[in-house]
Subunit: 218 residues, 2 copies
């Protein structure tokens, strides 16, 4: 039974790896599980078949036999629980790695998403220029705290874990912003994540869909 | 060894149960584990002792012998994995319940937090009145999707689970907004959560700290 994930047929990020299927692809590569991709159009994502899998009409989803899952964090955690490579063996260390997964999506990502929302949906609003520094201040506040905790370690808590996979994925959203330049240890942490062979395979695979889609158009 | 959690010495919500320690108290009550509370002042939350436990200077934290955890979702999941009462036995159903935990904190809560951030930090900004309907539109978009998925079920996926505990906790943030009135099944879902004996004990316990702190001041 092959694992099937859904991904954007044409990712709005132009293949820069920011769509959330990259996180799931990365986890699958880290644990060495093959998978197939079902590319979804924006229209198909709003149809009942997909909403049955993903009530919020998003990608990715994950299918493995009878199991249908949504939410990237839950998919990564499911894979980490079934296969070696993403969580330490020690029970306490596992719980701490899972804490970093939640910290990535619930503490560090929200202000970053708020910044993206502003840039995507409020760019033409009268308040955009005036408000952006406030939003970026909230992002910097979290980056400073994360930078202080990471200090000169390679990963957040011992060896690379699903917590780092999720945190690196969240920080990737800021890569083009220049904001990470003020936190050299976070920039280096991001680079370490991107240098992992599993990440590189995941990135290439999501990029290939985009490139193929572009060629089809021409 | 008694479990110790941290909570606000004086919760900014005035004891309405919105501080995140209520989520952990609720989980502890559902699984029948006693706990002690270490109340924290805002100043103490920024000190190295607390930052070692919680790198973002927030509450709650969770200590159980050698294990120190932060992030409410991770604490609730840790408790759910060690004690009966918060996750189904079937492996696939467990994975789906965990998906709802992540959906609560990563899909439904972010626009709700954005609304709270606007109300707390941008109320005096020139754009506040004009921007708020946009933010509330994003909240309603998620509420509509959640309402459609819940339909006439009691809980999100079979029996009450940690996924419902987290989702009800997120929706509680909207209780005073009136926004849930447009989604009667979500309002009823919230009421079912609040009616659980474990939630009522958790709510009373966090409220007691606030009441005691107020009496001390007088």
């Amino acid at each position: 039974m092959t694992i099937i994930i859904t991904a954007f047929e044409r990712s709005p990020d132009g293949g820069r790896g920011l769509a959330r299927d990259t996180r799931v692809r990365w986890a699958l590569e880290e644990v060495g599980q093959p998978y197939d991709v079902r590319p979804m159009s924006f229209a198909a994502m709003k149809e009942p078949t997909h909403l049955a899998r993903q009530p919020f009409g998003q990608i990715p989803t994950f299918e493995d036999g009878d199991l249908v899952l949504f939410e990237t964090g839950a998919i990564v955690l499911h894979l980490a629980g079934r296969h070696a490579g993403l969580l330490p063996d020690d029970a306490n260390a596992r719980a701490r790695a899972i804490a970093w997964m939640f910290a990535a999506v619930n503490t560090v990502e929200p202000p970053i998403l708020e910044r993206e929302t502003a840039r995507l949906l409020e760019r033409d609003a009268s308040w955009y220029e005036q408000r952006l520094p406030h939003v970026e201040g909230r992002v910097r506040h979290r980056l400073k705290q994360l930078s202080e905790r990471l200090a000169d370690a390679d990963w957040l808590d011992g060896a690379f874990s699903a917590g780092d996979l999720m945190m690196v994925s969240v920080l990737l959203r800021l890569k083009s912003s220049g904001m990470l330049d003020d936190y050299p240890n976070l920039a280096a942490y991001l680079a370490r994540g991107e240098a992992r062979p599993a990440y590189r395979r995941a990135f290439a695979a999501q990029r290939a869909i985009f490139t193929t889609a572009q060629k089809t158009e021409i």
